[in-house]
Amino acid sequence: MGDNHYSDQPENESFAESRRNFLKNTSLLTAIAVTPGVVAKAAENDLGEKIASAFDKVPLKMEINGVKQQLSVEPRVTLLDLLREQLNLTGTKKGCDYGQCGACTVHVNGQRVLSCLSLAVMHEGQKITTIEGLTKGDQLHPMQEAFIKHDGFQCGYCTPGQIMSAIACIREGHAENEADIREFMSGNICRCGAYPNIVDAITEVKNNGQKL
């Protein structure tokens, strides 16, 4: 495809028309193949502006858990779906998929974010850490150890998100006391109700004072 991924053409005249046709045929996988692609034309790229057509995949470079990845994604793919469906990193969980539960929490450049509300293409060149990236060989991360020690989970579904969030919570300086922890961990819902034990786990890791 090469430059076909992008076109600097400001407008794809047939886009709206193509989309209508596409929508008529949403059940047909072949619809994408019959949709005319954007005419490729490389030029005047001084601002780095490039338009990806709706039906094109966009090349995307990311570093995920320390591994450089050269990927190709549709603009509408979320970071969560990229991790789970394309990279088989299924440790990051899809809970609500609408930014209400925190199960999909990952770190982007060291900051905790919700991967379900984030388009993958918006993370070009960034460093992503998921729950799979915390261990060193067989050695668990101190927060993982603490969750086990304090029974910080029951069914375990929210746990990857809880742990990613908990590490960031301490790093941010928002784990000074129990009230602080509860407030700054409120974006991670646990339907089993393991909250007291989660707070205990975070408190212990915080008090150990290790660099996370």
Partner: protein, 327 residues
């Protein structure tokens, strides 16, 4: 989610140009509301213009005002030493909103542009004039416990969802926007709209305009401030009612006051008359109660939200008390 074109831009002008070229194109920054709405087919832009590469993240003192770039993250603003020291009300309001993860994604400009969380707006099986003008308002005769009591219309009784904006309207902020015709400034109180006959328009931005910054003039509200948010659970929920209160007290006399409410109107609701009733008075419960009564004049409840007529003044009084005697 429907498919869309995607373009990255690195200057306000390029972003405005890119969005101007396509009907139904949208800017995207944090995406925390837009991606959610796109997944639900409530918003279906044909093109997204990614503005994250535009250098608009600064938070700085410029002369007698603090200027915050539109792409500064909610968490960066809340944690900024400058903001905590000089605009503590803004910092408090930001930390009352959303979750730590969302605050790490959501930008100041995006926060201002977020849509209402009215259930009828979100449920595409229900009528909503904001989502699709002319369909009717499901909330008017429906489950309207969370809805507005000020400035409503027959077309829409939804409330504005932001916490940050309640503090910003109280602090007399100004919105800076770049558009096809250049840059302009909009007083914060005139940025968001009442629903009237056009509830589909949340604000007075012109077509293809991009918020580039907000400016907050220096003020004396550095100590006696409080953002009080009443919600259905202790954290991570939208406001049932919220109050931003800022007092400048000298010798127990209120020299100046700012008061605004959230969860009660289609726009951040500034309480100017109540402010006037505070100034020159002693910082006492009696003064606060009087101001709260004035603040509630003209409120109109619907079937399920009459409790707000009582919760509103009580929240105002408590916010003012907390502001007068910060912990």
């Amino acid at each position: 989610m429907i498919q869309f074109q995607y373009v990255r831009t690195s200057t306000p002008k390029a972003a405005v140009d890119a969005v101007s070229k396509t009907q139904n194109a949208r800017f995207i920054a944090g995406g925390t509301n837009l991606v959610d709405l796109m997944k639900r087919n409530i918003m279906t832009p044909e093109k997204l213009v990614d503005i994250n590469n535009i250098p608009l993240k600064g938070i700085e003192q410029q002369g007698n005002k603090i200027v915050i770039g539109a792409l500064a993250l909610n968490s960066q603003v809340a944690d900024s030493k400058l903001v905590q020291e000089k605009l503590p009300l803004l910092s408090q309001s930001l930390n009352a909103g959303a979750s730590a993860q969302i605050r790490n994604m959501a930008t100041v400009g995006g926060n201002m542009m977020q849509r209402t969380r009215c259930n009828y707006f979100y449920d595409t099986a229900m009528p909503c004039n904001k989502r699709e003008p002319g369909l009717g308002c499901g909330a008017l005769e429906g489950f309207n416990r969370m809805h507005a009591i000020f400035g409503t219309s027959e077309k829409c009784i939804a409330v504005h969802p932001s916490d940050m904006c309640i503090a910003l309207v109280a602090l007399d902020a100004t919105v800076v926007a770049a558009g096809p015709k250049g840059e302009r400034r909009i007083p914060f109180a005139e940025f968001h709209r009442l629903p009237g006959d056009t509830p589909e328009k949340d604000n007075n931005l012109m077509e293809n305009e991009l918020i580039t910054a907000i400016e907050i003039p220096d003020n004396a509200f550095t100590r006696n401030v409080h953002y009080l948010k009443i919600r259905d659970r202790a954290s991570y929920a939208f406001a049932v009612i919220s109050v931003a209160a800022a007092l400048h007290i000298e010798n127990n006399t209120i020299k100046d006051a700012r008061l605004a409410m959230g969860g009660v109107s289609h726009k951040p609701w500034r309480l100017s008359e109540a402010e006037k009733a505070l100034i020159g008075k002693p910082a006492s419960e009696k003064t606060f109660r009087n101001a709260a009564e004035i603040a509630m004049q003209g409120a109109k409840a619907y079937k399920h939200n009459a409790f707000k007529l009582k919760l509103g003044p009580n929240t105002i009084v408590q916010a003012l008390k907390n502001a007068a005697e910060p912990v």
